[in-house]
Every structure is written in C-alpha cells, then in structure tokens.
C-alpha cells in the first residue's frame, strides 16, 4: 500500500529539498510548482527560510495559492517592495527557482527571445527580467514541466539571459565558483551541475522513467553516476501540507497529462 501522489506533487516535494540547506535566505519560487516547493520547504525542511507575498511584504508563513477567504490575514513580517528586493538580491541572501524556456549545458538560460536574429526574434518572450542579476548574485534552481530538447538545448541558448558555468563568457578576474546553480527538477528527473568541470549530472530518475528517456530528451550530454537512485517520493505529511498550500489544486494543471495520481 503506497501513498498516492501526482507527478506535480512528486516535483514539488523533490524541488523543496533544493532549499534545505539555504539557512536564512529569501526563497522565491516563480510559478505554481516552484512556489509550492519553496513554501513546502519553509513548512518542513528549512523553517528559517524567508518568503514574500509576491507583492510587497515578507511573510513568516507562506500564503496559500489562489483566491483566499475575505477574513484571511497574511503573516506579514516586513515591507518588501520591489526596490528593496534588489537590496536583498545583490547581497546574495536569496534562492530563486524559475522556469526558463531554454537551458544549455552551461546552465545558461533564456527567457528573452527565440531565434538566430536578436534584432528580429522569431519569438519574443518576456525579456530578461531579473535573471542576469539573480544569476550573478545568488543561488538559482530551475523547474521544467516538459523535459525536451527544445528546453535542454544542444548548443548555447539563443539569448543568454542568465550567467552559467561557461568559461568563455567569464569576465576577467571572476571565477566559476561565484556562480551557484543548485538543482534542476523536471517532469522526468532531478539534475545538478555536479559532474566533472560543472558538467550537468543526473541525480535521480522519477519513478517509472528510464535513463534512455532522459537522454533522448536532453540536447546535451549528461554525467550519469554509477549509482542512480529513484527520486524520493513525497510523504503523507508533505502531501497534506501541499494540499493546504494549494487548496484550489492549481498544481493539477501544471504538468501535461499528469496522470500519475494512481502510481505507487
């Protein structure tokens, strides 16, 4: 009798581990699954995390996602407008988990524009937002709901919005050790940059996913350790907390064909 969980819940629980050793640091999860992962971490493996209401206050307890009762009072602890966010970012006490459109073998990412010609992009996306500053200032992790070669590209990203472990782009006097890309969680597996010379490394495969599937869907070569564990599945306590943080079940629509509900 295993515990039932969805793929989204597996990803949330697994991604929450990324924040475990951050200490007193601002955890920012952009998107439903990263935000739930950061919130779950703050409720379980790292009670010291800091979090915002995604608007202008820091919270001592994460807010549930989606519409809330009229009598809901959020647990403010200080004002944290956008300009002050940068004071925190540039000081380094933050870990952002974001969902880039492209990720290359160096851990460089793109959320700006697709296509060869930057002057006339094939697809204009958001613009680089805060990615350049985040990537040079503090720890970052990525979540990808659809692990394909379109995301994990073979060459460099079309536009490099965030800095990665690319020696040829390293400015003089700086070291790759200053860059901290911590974890990549996808619908198939968990990865990091712990291979030789920061090579992307497979850490674990989600239950039922084969090594071949991951390799076929990744545009660059992964370092595969001799012993490759299965991703740890969520506990009953984690699932209860996730449900309380996401009472409208917005997580259900985050991963295409999330049918793992009856797994294990």
């Amino acid at each position: 009798m295993g515990i039932k969980f969805t793929l989204a819940e597996l990803c949330i629980a697994s991604a929450s581990e990324a924040f475990e050793e951050d200490g007193e640091s601002l955890a920012t999860g952009i998107g439903i699954i990263p935000r739930l992962a950061a919130s779950l971490a703050m409720k379980t493996c790292n009670r010291d995390l800091m979090m915002t209401d995604s608007e202008s206050f820091m919270l001592s307890e994460p807010n549930p996602i989606g519409p809330r009762d009229a009598n809901f009072i959020q647990a403010n602890e200080n004002w944290m407008g956008f300009s002050r966010i940068f004071d925190n970012i540039w000081n380094g006490r933050r870990h952002a988990m974001v969902g880039p459109s492209q990720i290359d073998r160096f851990g460089q990412t793109n959320i700006s524009a697709l296509g060869e010609d930057y002057r006339q992009p094939k697809v204009m996306m958001l613009g680089s937002r805060g990615f350049p500053g985040n990537s040079i200032s503090h720890r970052n992790s990525f979540f990808c709901p659809a692990h394909t070669k379109r995301v994990f590209v073979t060459g460099e990203c079309d536009f490099v919005s965030s800095v990665g472990y690319n020696p040829s782009r390293l400015p003089r006097g700086h070291s790759l050790e200053e860059i901290d890309i911590h974890r990549i969680v996808t619908n198939l597996c968990v990865m990091d940059f712990g291979g030789p010379d920061y090579q992307p490394r497979l850490r674990s495969l989600h239950p039922g996913v084969s090594l071949e599937t991951v390799i076929e869907n990744t545009g660059f070569e992964l370092f595969v350790p001799d012993s490759l564990p299965e991703t740890i599945v969520p506990t009953g306590l984690q699932l209860d907390i996730i449900a309380s943080l996401d009472p409208h079940n917005l997580r259900a629509s985050q991963i295409k064909d999330d049918l793992r509900g009856s797994a294990n």
Binding site: D53, S54, E55, S56, F57, G66, P67, R68, G81, F82, S83, F86, I89, W90, Q108, S112, A113, D117, Y118, R119, Q120, P121, K122, V123, M124, M125, L126, G127, S128, R129, G130, F131, P132, G133, S135, I136, S137, F159, V160, S161, S162, V163, G164, N166, R169, L170, P171, R172, G173, H174
Partner: protein, 290 residues
Amino acid sequence: MNKVKSAKEAIGQLEDGMTIGIGGWGPRRKPMALVREILRTNLNDLTLLSYGGADVGMLCAAGRVSKLIFAFVSLDFIPLEPFFRQVRQSGKLDVLEIDEGMMLQGLRAAAWRIPFIPTAVGLGTDIVEKTSEIKIINSPYDDKEWVAMPALELDAALIHVDHADCRGVCQISGPDHYMDDWFARAAQNTIVSCDELVPESFFNDENAARKVFWERAVTDSVVLIEGGAHPSSCAPLYGFDSEHFRSYAGFAKTDGIKGYLEAYLGKDENDYQSKVGGLQAIRNLPLPVY
C-alpha cells in the same frame, strides 16, 4: 505654487525624439490616461523606458516609439504583451534590453548626476554582449571586470499616484511605489497624474506623509485624472481590468492597435471612460490576489 495642469497641457510639453520614462510595473499603477493623451497627439520618435505593460504595447504598436529600454513587457496574467511581441518580431524596434535591477541603477545614476554605477549585474550574459551601449570596466580597487551601468537620463517621467496636492506632494498608498521615486528624480520634467487632488493639510497626518516617496521639488506637473491608471490597477482604489486587457489582447489578433484605439481611445478621458463602463465601474474593479 500651483503645478496643476490639464492632461493636454501637461503632455503638450513633450516633444518628438524625447526620452520618456513611465512609472508603475506591468499591469500595476501605470499612468495610462497620460499614455492615452500621447496617443491623441502626433508625438513620435520617442525613446521609452519602462517596467513595461500595455503602456509599452500601445505606444510601440501605434508607431510612436523608435527605441525601447526594457527588462520585460508583460500584463502578468497575460504573460506576453501581444502588441509588444508583434512589434519586436517585426524587427522594426530598436531595443536596449537590460535587467530589472540595472534599470533601477541607471535611474539612480541619472538622479545622482553621475555617469554610471558599477555592478555585477549583466556579467556573462547577452545583456552586455548584444549592445555596445553598456561598457565593461576595470575596477580601480580590485583586478576584476565590472559592468558600468550608464545613467538613464529622462527628458520626462510619467507617473500615476492616488493622491497629490497642487504643489506636487504625491502619495502612493498602494503596497508598492515600485521605482517611481527614481523615475521622478531621473527626469527633467516629472508629470504626475492623480486619482484625487487634496489640500496641503492632507499630508499633516504622519501616516499620510510616510507614503510620500519624493519631495515636491521633483514634481513638475500635477494632473487630476480619476481612474487614470485604467486598465492597470491603482491599489487600494481599484484593481486591473482583466476583461479590458483580454479585449485589448484580442485586437492584436484582429484589427490591430488601430482597431483598439478606434474602439476605446475617444477624444478625451471622459469619452474613454464612457466606453469602458464609466468611472464607477473602474472604481469597482477588485484588487488582484497574488
């Protein structure tokens, strides 16, 4: 001193080719009525600098912008601004793409009257590779390279606030004033629209005074436009108009910005508001939950 002007008078101070900064953030507290007033003139060849939302989409699609300085353009719940996207993909827009924080640094440098601010932001990315406008420099204090974020000097800044007095004391009582204080300080001419014009004594209350983020000397013009942020939000007075934004985004797929402006712009702000349901409907828009 009385800095109150009509929207027409205030926007009438602007000239072709100017660099204009627009306050607010995405779909939040944008001086949209002032943007509409620009759209009622023939102003063009503008350089625009904004944490962009529909302000950028409208002005770019209407052909008024020759260059855009931006970190993102988004309506939040519609992540990709449809008109900005079209113009960008047409290859007709000159851009300087920077990080959100670099924009803050550039505005600060302009406000502090220094040529640049050294920073790590942008190092190793295409933000510095795809432009010749942002220089990498050697530090006099260590052996490393740093980005020299240039001052972003503005000919004018457009900002929307909830309360102001006729001398230019401006209050932002919503949860965040974003970078509006830096837009105001970086500009030669700061034009502020307000939802409510109040007497000087309004600010005697220390709680009101604490929500004033720049000194009145920084404000040059005050324009009373109730509901003037619509369709963006002006917390705590009203939220953004998601229905209107959907209609706006729909025009990108059909009749384009021309169709949108024909449907809504009107000859003045009263005319505009009558086309979007009136001031009371704007005031009734619920605040968003994040």
